[in-house]
Amino acid sequence: MNNLTGEYLLELKKVCVSYTPGKNAVNNVSADILPNTITAIMGPSGCGKSTLLRAINRMHELYPNIVTTGEILLKGKDVLKMNPSEVRRMAGMVFQRPNPFPTMSIYDNVIAGYGLNGIRLKKSEKDEIVETSLRNVALWDEVKDSMTKKGSFLSGGQQQRLCIARALALKPELLLMDEPTSALDPISTNRIEELLLELKEQFTIVIVTHNTSQAARISNYSMFMYLGDLVEYDTTKQMFTKPKDKRTEDYLTGVFG
């Protein structure tokens, strides 16, 4: 991580998350993330990678007894001291399984973030946001004639792109993705990966993945987590060619995981 320079978009300082008192699922993680990059978080199941990701947009607060400590700075502002709604608008999230709102049309799904925040927009503003967001995820041409259909009418891969569009519609600073392709077929996965490479131009992406080759394909930086610790954080190239830690090497070569 010594070769990270410049203005960081996201700074994690000694972040700990615990589900039960005295036991950290994420342990003292510190890392800085540059804008317009893709950072992959890898590690075996239960290593705390999703837990760390969900700490960034304070999803843990939806459940009792989960405690997050440390500092998480998003554009220099401490996330843990902000209004959670504001944090979540600034850091969009895409989940493992596509979760479009089943009672809403494709159009309403994309614009849902505004309604859910009580923000009223003019029809023309909505139209523009919907088109831009759908174009951003390369879904516009496929759905522009079926905007009033339900989101569940789409294929799994299309649904996931719709969910990405829904997150992008709020013009977030950061996109948090929790294994976004693990429920998708290889072709859909491929499309999403290509998409992320394009989105990097406008957004900053942190992606949790259990798929090391996915991390190698798309990410600029990689984190390897093990048992709640951030074992190694470096450029993806460095980590995949010359990992510094034995555990990282073992994981990447398939000794465990």
Partner: protein, 284 residues
């Protein structure tokens, strides 16, 4: 061999239940034929006369049908602002927590209280309140009956609504929260729309309960044979007229009471099937 025996026992038991239901329907139809033949099916339903004087005998169900619909629908209206918050409390805000378990068992307890006890409470507690508030001199009537009915159906409406609200998938709610939504917005725009048809079915079932409820209503509605035109009117429901008069009825009057029973049976069966249909559509 044992398996076969057990199977035929199950068949026999199930068949007997069907036979009983069919027999009940058959005897209701048989008992009401006289009234329907005498007054005509349509006339019976659309006349409000209830005149038992010998020689002038004229019976119609309209007063009781309207009394039934009036009390039941008003009770349903009254129960919504109480049962929906209870359902949200138990199914969303405090889902799975001790306080929700406690609250839902207390609400379920309400469902177990015998109708006559509600009737007594309505008679000795609610009715004097209505009298002293000056709304109604005697305290009997549609309003009194509806308030008690509303309390009686709250547990039915709320426990089923709770089920449907808590069935809303967590990943959809997380999706909404991740966009910055507040609790209230998630409920308004995600949970309620998704649980909507289930909640609708819950209220239809509650309505079915309210339509057939007898004892408490009979004690509070005032038992007059007229079409109620205001909340403070007295009246009779289909169930309460039967409960009031079956003991001393014979001939055409008895047949008319049975006919009212048949109509009530058909209405509640219809309402319940609508609710079941909606629920089947959701669950499959």
């Amino acid at each position: 061999m044992k398996d076969k025996l057990f199977k035929s026992f199950l068949f026999a038991a199930a068949g007997l239940v069907l036979l009983l239901a069919g027999g009940m329907f058959y005897s209701l139809v048989g008992g009401s034929v006289n009234a329907f033949r005498h007054f005509g099916l349509v006339d019976f339903i659309t006349t409000a006369d209830w005149n038992p004087r010998t020689g002038e005998e004229r019976y119609g169900a309209l007063s009781f049908i309207s009394g039934t619909l009036f009390t039941a629908l008003f009770a349903l209206l009254l129960c919504i602002p109480f049962s929906l918050p209870v359902a949200l409390f138990n199914g969303e805000y405090f889902k799975g927590k001790k306080i929700a378990v406690a609250a839902s068992s207390i609400v379920d307890l309400l469902a177990g209280i015998p109708s006559i006890v509600y009737g007594l409470w309505g008679f000795y507690t609610l009715r004097p309140l209505i009298v002293s508030s000056g709304l109604n001199e005697q305290g009997f009537g549609i309003l009194t009956a509806s308030v008690v009915l509303a309390i009686m159906i709250i547990p039915y409406a709320s426990s089923l609504s709770t089920e449907f609200i808590s069935m809303v998938p967590n990943d959809l709610k997380e999706g909404a929260y991740s966009l910055g939504a507040t609790n209230l917005e998630v409920i308004r725009r995600v949970s309620l729309p998704i649980a909507g048809s289930g909640i609708f079915a819950a209220y239809i079932l509650a309505l079915g309960r309210a339509l057939g409820e007898t004892m408490a209503v009979t004690m509070l509605i005032g038992n007059t044979n007229n079409i109620p035109t205001s909340l403070f009117d007295t009246g009779n429901t289909m169930a309460s007229i039967i409960a009031n008069q079956f003991g001393e009825a014979d001939g055409l009057k008895l047949s008319s009471l049975i006919a009212i029973g048949l109509l009530l049976f058909l209405i509640t069966a219809g309402i319940n099937s609508i609710a079941k249909l909606v629920m089947r559509k959701i669950l499959h």
